[in-house]
């Protein structure tokens, strides 16, 4: 149990550092892929709602700590998405690589819409089509592309952890 928690904390931390640090050098069209989103959605798909929500809480806190003056908004976003993604656990299959990709795309869309509402709409900026066209779509495409690789890595980590649990 503790090992699983440590793996989650370390894994999400590494992804956060990668997302803000390394991928800034590799940004396409000015956007970076949302690695934390892939993590939350993948956990939701592989492990169910509760765990995805806890992972979302953690990921959100990382962003809050460095990039937000108000604590709690990003965890809330990720918890909502983790919760929704967790419903797909019922149809989880080891060889299914398409579902997490689609879930990531939908999650990213939802995240961007929530971000738009909280940070832009409330400021009186209403040009949604511009944000969708300029940021949301490139971000979804880039995130989905990265998730093709990242999901496989996460799945291997998950299988390894499950085996470890059985040994215990």
């Amino acid at each position: 149990m503790i090992i699983r928690a440590i793996v989650l904390i370390l894994g999400s931390f590494i992804l956060y550092v990668l997302q803000t640090g390394l991928f800034s050098s590799f940004s396409l069209a000015g956007v970076v892929p949302d690695l934390l989103m892939i993590l939350v959605v993948s956990i939701g798909f592989m492990r169910g709602r509760t765990k995805a929500m806890l992972a979302g809480l953690l990921c959100g806190f990382y962003i809050d700590c460095c990039y937000s003056s108000v604590v709690g908004i990003f965890p809330l976003f990720y918890i909502i998405i983790g919760n929704l993604a967790g419903f797909s656990h019922k149809i989880y299959d080891d060889d299914d690589h398409m579902t997490p990709l689609m879930l990531t795309a939908v999650g990213e869309l939802l995240y961007n819409l929530m971000y738009f509402v909280v940070f832009y709409l409330l400021q009186g900026k209403i040009n949604l089509s511009f944000y969708i066209y300029r940021i949301t779509i490139p971000r979804i495409v880039y995130t989905v592309l990265v998730s093709i690789i990242l999901y496989r890595i996460l799945k291997i980590a998950n299988l390894y952890l499950l085996r470890f649990d059985k040994d215990e």
Binding site: S24, G48, R49, S69, I135
Partner: protein, 298 residues
Amino acid sequence: MKPKIKNKVKKKIVINPKIVFWGLTVFCIILIVVSYRFSDIFSPVKNVIGSVVAPMQKGINNFGDFIEDKVDHFSDMDDLLEENKALKAQIDDLKNTNQILNQEKYELSYYRELYELDGLYDQYKKVAAKVISKDPNSYSGEFIIDKGEKDGILTDMNVLAGNGLVGIVTQTGSNWARVRTIIDDSSKVSGMFLKTSDTCIVSGDLELIDKGYINVSQISLNAQIYDNYEVVTSYISDKYLPGILIGYVSDIGVDPTKLTQQCRLTPVVDFEHIDAVLIITQLREEYDGISEVFKSDN
């Protein structure tokens, strides 16, 4: 709600995810309200996490730069050879222009004297810093630099790149600081036209920066301004030191209320490829003391 989750984890009691969801949601909302109401309450936590993350990001960032350099190196080889030819031809041209520019430099220093900027602008003590991470949400124009309180960085210090204004420090940790750029949607800078001394408000706009512009508004109808006039930070700002170049204006027109003029501004800083910045380690409040002296001298 938190203890319930812990119970679940330890004793493997399955509790309804619905309860977990609402519990965590309420928890987050409470956090939002608390941190909004008492903004200092979380700063020690943020500081500690920031201090741990900053060195790692710095390392990873260097690695990223290294890879990017290598990739660029190969892809640019052909371009470079062609460019080299063109550049050689340009050198002669530039030699000529340089001569002219040198003459204009004298003119510039004359203008600076006129605006009492001479000396002051160069006299600001500056600290150089590297950008180590950018906002994970691709919307906003914020980034984190690798210098913090240890190096004398404080909140509200102005940040430059080259000779143009980048933004302002909004939050500091022991070895990191958060900078909000002037292109950020929430950024508003009090500016001034160098030639006419008309004041204006320079506000960031994500939509416009895509085309390379930001907004300038609240310019008096009587202001005689034309394209390519310089906008600098104004004397009336309470956070920005005066006389820092922001950019050049274009597309001047009357705003929808017909009470003021508005225009667009091309920042002098290239925000897409920003990787090193200078922080002026002097706050506006301290500066006001100095300017008093200057005014009484004249």
